[in-house]
């Protein structure tokens, strides 16, 4: 068990910078989720940690061993679950789970015991003599997990382990993984592009985009205080509404309507000295009412059963989404509504740097 860390890690593939000066420390027993859109460098970062890719610059630290750059994957004492599961097709489930132990010359009696334990904790006892081709997707995923937990490595690396499961199984396995991590008291580094997985599973989320780390923090903090426009739009479903506006005094003008900012935030925006800003507000913090300051036209209403998403067009053409409860009145499409926002729930970003301006 132990910590792992990226220290100024850069990965270049010829001219493409896949990971750009990544600094990230993952504490012992922490569940860290590396989150980002495809191609953001999160998988490359994980693969560098595993030793499957060389580091172009910087260093990887695992446990209390320092620079691991010259340590081969097989000697890094990590376990990894692949998106494809990468089960050995010619071996039975038992031999698949046993493989990491055999590689490390664990004696037979101990091996049998560890395999039985791992199989039992993932409910695979009945499948031990089957081959991967005879298993369902969910069962294969469990075998891949069992092969990882059969040892007690410094850390577990997971590369989108749930993405090949159907939606129902994914939700179930998500909870089981959290439980597993707590039971093992293990360090997990978990790569995903699914922000729901990130929000529900991680102790902390590290969000990456275009090779750069955007923000690291506990899920709620990242949700409440996104560090930049990218994070604001990436976390949350439906995503945060971001509209461009102009700073006029202590207010922000959006589509001809002034949104007054609370005192401290107004002061911060003034201090930042930017003329154009991006105003962000989450769909649940917008309200549809007769009194609201911002006129908008309803484009479409999506019903999800427990809530509705009202997609509106502002007078200047920008689109916003309003989340309403299913028992609230549903505005008709093409009708004009008035929107209001809770001033305490406004997020302001510098339009030029896209960075958050904080009160």
């Amino acid at each position: 068990m132990g910590r792992v860390a990226f220290v100024g890690v850069t990965k270049r593939f010829d001219d493409v910078v896949a990971v750009d000066h990544l600094d990230l420390e993952i504490a012992d027993q922490e569940f860290l989720v590396l989150l980002g859109p495809s191609g953001c460098g999160k998988s490359t970062a994980l693969r560098m940690l595993a030793g499957l890719e060389d580091v172009s610059e910087g260093s990887i630290e695992i446990g209390f061993r320092g620079d691991m750059n010259n340590v081969e994957a097989k000697d890094r004492d990590l376990a990894m679950v692949f998106q494809s599961y990468a089960l050995y097709p010619h071996m039975t489930v038992r031999r698949n789970i046993e493989f990491p132990l055999k590689s490390r010359h664990v004696p037979k009696a101990e091996r049998d015991e560890l395999v039985a334990d791992a199989a039992q904790s993932l409910g695979l006892e009945a499948l031990l003599d089957r081959k991967p081709a005879q298993l369902s997707g969910g069962q294969r995923q469990r075998v891949a997990l069992a092969r990882a937990i059969v040892r007690r490595p410094t850390a577990f690396l997971m590369d989108e382990p749930l993405s090949n499961l159907d939606a129902k199984l994914r939700v179930q396995t998500r909870a089981e993984l959290i439980e597993l991590q707590q039971r093992l008291s293990a360090t997990f580094v978990y790569v995903t592009h699914d922000q729901v997985e990130a929000m529900t599973m991680g102790d902390r989320i590290a969000i990456m985009n275009e090779g750069r780390l955007q923000q690291v923090g506990p899920p709620q903090e990242v949700y409440d205080r996104p560090a930049n426009v990218f994070v604001a739009r990436f976390i949350g479903s439906p995503p945060m509404n971001t509209v461009t506006g102009e700073v006029v005094g202590d207010s922000i003008m959006v589509a001809g309507t002034a949104f007054p900012l609370p005192g401290p935030l107004a002061a911060a925006v003034r201090a930042a000295g930017c003329a154009a800003v991006v105003l962000g507000v989450r769909p649940e913090h917008l309200e549809i009412g007769a009194e609201g300051p911002l006129p908008a036209t309803v484009v479409v209403v999506e019903s999800l059963g427990h809530e509705r998403h009202v997609i509106c067009r502002l007078d200047d053409g920008q689109m916003v989404i309003v989340r309403i409860q299913s028992d609230e009145a549903v505005p008709a499409a093409e009708s004009t509504v008035r929107l209001s926002a809770d001033p305490g729930q406004l997020h302001v970003f510098d339009a030029a740097t896209e960075l958050r301006i904080d009160a």
Binding site: L52, A73, P89, F99, S103, R104, A133, R147
Partner: protein
């Protein structure tokens, strides 16, 4: 439901479309095959001009139990044992070496597969020169090859085997390389993270997953080995002391030099049976093989 009339119409169309290939097969495969079997039932007279005599299966049992045939069969099997495993080990070795992302590896792949473009005749001439007791490799190295390799009863067959291994190496290399490419890269990555050394990865991942390819190469290689003719004809003519008298060469000499078409026909049927058995094994095993999902 398809009506009976329509089905009949479709069937007759199917047979009509099959007709050309059926005609070609009948003319060049089925007719010669049965005619050859039939020829084996007649003994060729010792002097030309005399009538053939029908002897039924006597000639079959006679020829197939003769020491001449058994020696030839033994030579052929020895030849297959010399060429097939060695060729596969070498081809696999080169394929594993060339199966990596390195700058310039394409040049090596081209070199390793180049013998595909070499004919048996060219290979025989090259090695015939190398084995030559006057201008060959050994005298150049200062070793006096006496008797010359191709005239040495103990070395002639291994020498022809070397030519064959070299000539088929390109094909084996290509087969093994394409086999390697079907093994998903993430299995190797998983094995690396699982702590497997390169040797263990080879024995536990590469070799088992390549076994269908290796099996195919063994069967096809054996069939090729049993049909070897060109290099024997060009380098040793079955000698010295008939030590390189493989089946195909034996058939040809029976026919051309002894003009004994009855005996040659029997030998041809024997060779056909061996090849048929090898092919059936191949088909059966490949059919039963578990396909990895």
């Amino acid at each position: 439901m398809i009506s009976r009339q329509r089905r009949a119409r479709e069937m007759s169309l199917a047979y009509f479309l099959l007709l050309p290939s059926l005609a070609i097969f009948a003319l060049f495969v089925f007719y010669p095959f049965f005619k050859n079997f039939y020829l084996g039932l007649f003994r060729t007279p010792p002097f030309p001009g005399l009538p053939k005599t029908y002897v039924g299966f006597d000639q079959y049992s006679e020829v197939l139990s003769s020491s001449e045939f058994l020696n030839s069969l033994r030579t052929t099997i020895a030849f297959a044992i010399m060429t097939v495993p060695t060729g596969i080990v070498l081809g696999l070795g080169l394929a594993v070496l060339a199966h990596r992302q390195l700058r310039g590896v394409g040049i090596y792949r081209t070199i390793f597969s180049s013998t595909v473009a070499t004919s048996v005749a060219v290979a025989s001439v090259i090695f015939g020169t190398l084995f030559n007791p006057v201008v060959g490799l050994l005298p150049w190295l200062g070793i006096d090859p006496r008797p010359p390799i191709l005239d040495n009863p103990d070395l002639a067959l291994p020498a022809v085997a070397i030519v064959t291994i070299w000539q088929t190496l390109g094909l084996t290399f290509i087969l093994m390389s394409s086999g390697l490419q079907t093994i998903p890269e993430d299995l190797y990555e998983a094995a690396r993270v699982d702590g497997a050394t390169p040797t263990r990865r080879f024995w536990q991942v590469t070799l088992p997953l390549l076994s269908p390819t290796i099996f195919f190469a063994v069967v096809v290689g054996s069939i090729f080995a049993f049909q070897t003719f060109g290099q024997i004809d060009l380098l040793t003519q079955g000698g010295p002391l008939k030590r390189t008298n493989v089946l195909t060469y034996f058939i040809v000499t029976s026919l051309r030099q002894q003009n004994n078409d009855g005996k040659a026909a029997v030998l041809a049927v024997a060779l056909f049976s061996i090849t048929l058995v090898l092919t059936l094994i191949q088909v059966r095993v490949l059919e039963r093989r578990v396909h990895y999902a």
